[in-house]
């Protein structure tokens, strides 16, 4: 089972790892990925960002992506946390933790979850720059990254 949380508040990576590892001794590797708010987009300086989401469906989609990852790799657990609301450059946006007996499964599953989350989880970024605010447009490159996992 993987833990999925969609929340406004920040998260603590060490506490999240401790929460799922607990006293287990069968875990050989932990992979974590943390996404942060960058202060630039191309040549634009980002002042602030707001993440909008579809409550209910966001959790459902993240759970579905985690389920697929668990069917594909021998994971011993994991966590996905995605934040929403107003964020500043440097803030944490997303956390993926994967646990497995051997590192390959943990690395590949974390990468798979991130690639699918980008294109399949209903979240939308709005950036505030000196010249105004705009919705971030989806990148074709992200769709291709997600599709490369299809066998």
């Amino acid at each position: 089972m993987m833990k999925v949380l969609v929340q406004e508040q920040d998260f603590n990576i060490a506490a999240e790892i401790a929460d799922i590892v607990s006293k287990r001794t069968d875990i050989g590797g932990i992979v974590t990925f943390t996404g942060l708010v960058r202060d630039f987009h191309g040549s634009n300086k980002i002042q602030k960002m707001t993440l909008e989401h579809f409550p209910g469906m966001a959790e459902k989609q993240l759970e579905a992506i985690c389920k697929t990852a668990q069917e594909r790799w021998p994971l011993l657990g994991g966590t996905v946390i995605h934040r929403y609301g107003p964020l500043n450059p440097g803030d944490q946006i997303v956390l993926v933790i994967t646990l497995s007996a051997h590192r390959e499964a943990a690395f590949d599953a974390a990468s798979f979850i991130m690639d699918w989350l980008k294109t399949d989880a209903p979240f939308w970024k709005k950036e505030e720059t000196l010249s105004g605010t705009h919705w971030v447009s989806a990148k074709d490159a992200d769709t291709l990254k997600a599709e490369k996992w299809q066998k």
């Binding site: 989401h53 989350l117 399949d120 209903p122 970024k125 919705w135 989806a138």
Partner: protein, 83 residues
């Protein structure tokens, strides 16, 4: 039926949700979009470019030819940009 709008679709239309009754002659998502366009310029601009419109019926992604009914919850939004 319940309609939900997110991101630029929500901003263009000017509300995040509304309830409408599904006209008898409309059977799919595509028909609903055309029906909404007739409601005003704000809907026309929200649905101007169908390439950047995604649809979820009862929280599942569907195509524009998906058959809809009065009891569905239909959400319109742009391609996702989370992560």
């Amino acid at each position: 039926m319940d309609l939900l709008y997110f991101a630029h679709v929500r901003e263009n239309i000017g509300c995040s949700s509304e309830q409408i009754s599904l006209p008898d002659n409309i059977s799919d998502v595509s028909g609903l979009i055309n029906h909404l366009r007739a409601k005003g310029i704000n809907y026309q601009s929200a649905f101007e470019n169908e390439d950047i419109i995604r649809v979820a019926v009862n929280q599942l992604y569907v195509n524009f030819d998906h058959v809809i009914s009065e009891k569905d919850e239909i959400a319109f939004f742009p391609p996702m940009t989370g992560g």
